[in-house]
């Protein structure tokens, strides 16, 4: 395709918090400057900037891309804000990738930010505005409804129980104990998850990621620059994204086809023919416990309905054959929406470089994958990384 090879060369992030003292701009600056510092670059070296941030309603600031732009290092530079809801955090690095792959820019800074605490007492009021304004909002839906409906459909299709799915919360919250930025890391049991209050059956409180503030950033560079900067560039070898019907009541929620199509696009580009054998570490999007399983299936890392068994068998533990969410994921580290997807790409970057410290998965992984999901619930974004 005549595309240039692109590497991730630096990463940074803030702590993920229920409520941060810092403004969104200050959080963005903290993550962005840390990412630049991590690869010994300054803003002068940056040719273009990508800003990822979810609905304006959370921060309550209209044109949030513009609002955050100074903290993202975007002034006097070409800048764009892309937005696909929860999928944004992995979509923004994809945008950064094509800025560099196309030959337009040599170095791009990608910043993801969310400050959900500004919408108070709870951002559910802002989530209401994503539902269809004619036929759904009059029913006064809560965002969790739609996930509960999907989780129920998924459980029904495969004969799964809440217990099967609770294992994901237990694993991810425990993994997060080793993440210095984690908001809701805990050592809990399956019983704790099952006994936590039911919000919308079958979703209990400990099946849900928290509301968070935070930011995360990456530095991407073209091959000739990356090789000069570091002997450990992490290559973005495949990207994919896909949107399914927004008539979500017209499609079968038990399987995320949009994730499969996004994954197939990324796999084709990365030359991956047997994902389960060729991918060593995965960060699928896990805003709800069942979503990790749902997404592993969409990513073709196991058959439909088989992800729960992989989890029960310990395959997805950090020391398992296919470590899944070694960071602790959204369930453990937290979910500042666009920042959490960038965090997942950063985690794969650190894992492949062997820099994940206590979170490091064994066996020197060489290929990793990060995925996010969003819009109302029908967009999939996938990045395949290699060292």
């Amino acid at each position: 395709m005549g595309l240039r090879r692109v590497a991730v060369v630096g990463a940074g992030m803030t702590k993920f918090m229920r409520r941060a003292l810092e403004t969104g701009r200050e959080l963005s600056w903290q993550a962005a400057s840390m990412a630049l510092e991590s690869c010994d670059l300054t803003l002068e070296d940056v040719d273009g900037v990508v800003i990822g941030t979810a609905p304006d309603t959370f921060d309550g600031v209209h044109m949030k891309g513009e609002y955050l732009s100074d903290g993202c290092g975007a002034w006097q530079k070409p800048v764009m804000r892309g937005y696909v809801g929860g999928g944004t955090g992995v979509f923004s690095p994809i945008q950064g990738w094509y800025h560099v792959a196309s030959g337009l820019f040599d170095v791009v800074l990608v910043v993801g930010e969310e400050k959900m605490s500004s919408c108070h007492p709870h951002p559910q009021g802002a989530f209401l505005t994503i539902f269809d304004n004619m036929l759904e909002r009059p029913l006064e839906p809560n965002l969790i409804w739609i996930f509960a409906l999907e989780m129920q459909r998924y459980m029904e299709a495969h004969g799964l129980s809440k217990r099967d799915i609770a294992l994901v919360s237990v694993k991810n919250k425990r993994n997060a104990l080793d993440h210095p930025c984690a908001q809701v890391a805990e050592d809990i049991s399956v019983e704790d998850v099952l006994n936590s209050e039911i919000m919308v059956w079958p979703v209990s409180r400990l099946d849900v990621s928290p509301v968070s503030d935070g930011a995360a950033a990456l530095v991407l560079a073209a091959e000739h620059v990356a090789k000069r900067m570091t002997d450990k560039p992490v290559w973005i070898d495949g990207v994919g994204w896909h949107l399914d019907s927004a008539y979500w009541t017209n499609r079968d929620l038990y399987y995320p086809k949009y994730v499969e199509y996004a994954a197939r696009m990324a796999y084709r580009m990365a030359g991956i023919t047997e994902p389960r054998k060729q991918i060593n570490v995965v960060e699928p999007y896990d805003p709800f416990s069942y979503k990790e399983l749902h997404h592993l299936e969409g990513l073709l890392l196991c058959g439909k309905g088989e992800a729960a068994k992989l989890t029960a068998d310990g395959v997805t533990q950090r020391n398992g054959d296919l470590p899944v969410c070694p960071s602790g994921g959204l369930m453990g580290v937290g979910n500042p929406i666009a920042a959490s997807g960038v965090m997942k790409v950063a985690e794969i970057f650190w894992q492949l470089r062997g820099e994940a410290g206590k979170r490091q998965v064994p066996g020197k992984p060489i290929t990793g994958l990060a995925q996010a999901w969003g819009d109302l619930m029908q967009v999939g974004t996938v990045v395949v990384l290699r060292i």
Binding site: L128, M134, P138, N142, V200, P202
Partner: protein, 167 residues
């Protein structure tokens, strides 16, 4: 590098706020909207007022779609005709909600569901509530029928259907 260094960010506690340790600027935007229902949903809502659920058919892909639309998003051409559907269907999936839209708790749970409407193509559903059924008795695949508001109380809204009940 990830574990050896301090990560930035300053978490606040509830008491930092309640005791006024940090300063806050508040704003309530009070933005109000009135959406024109459009051609497809306008007709759909007008039919609800008459006590009927209608869909649109595309003659190319042969789907009968609900909610109705004036263009087929798959064939990318105009849809062809209105079809009167039944006011009954099958539960595709359901949930049991203990919270309102703003996350506050309710005493009596509601049962949001996706209901595949009889007469539409397979898998074509709408979101609504189930009623006259205990949460523990609801099952995927269950047959349900609309319970309408009395004609005089209908106003051309999805709420003209109060809920769907087993039948």
């Amino acid at each position: 590098m990830t574990t050896d260094r301090e990560f930035p960010g300053t978490p606040l506690s509830d008491s930092d706020i309640s005791e006024g340790k940090v300063l806050i600027v508040e704003h309530d935007p009070n933005a109000r909207y009135a959406w024109d229902a459009g051609i497809a949903i306008g007709r759909f809502l007008a039919e609800l007022k008459k006590g009927r659920i209608v869909g649109r058919e595309c003659h190319r892909c042969r789907r009968i779609m609900v909610p109705p639309r004036m263009f087929c998003e798959q064939c990318f051409r105009p849809t062809d005709r209105w079809v009167v559907l039944k006011d009954s269907g099958r539960v595709n999936t359901y949930s049991i909600s203990y919270i309102r839209w703003d996350a506050s708790r309710v005493k009596e749970p509601t049962i949001p569901a996706v209901i595949e409407i009889d007469g539409a193509s397979k898998g074509m559903g709408i979101m609504h509530f189930l009623g006259e059924v205990k949460p523990e008795d609801v099952q995927v695949g269950m047959r349900v029928k609309a319970v309408w508001k009395p004609p005089r109380q209908r106003e051309g809204s999805i709420l003209d259907i109060r809920y769907f009940r087993p039948y």
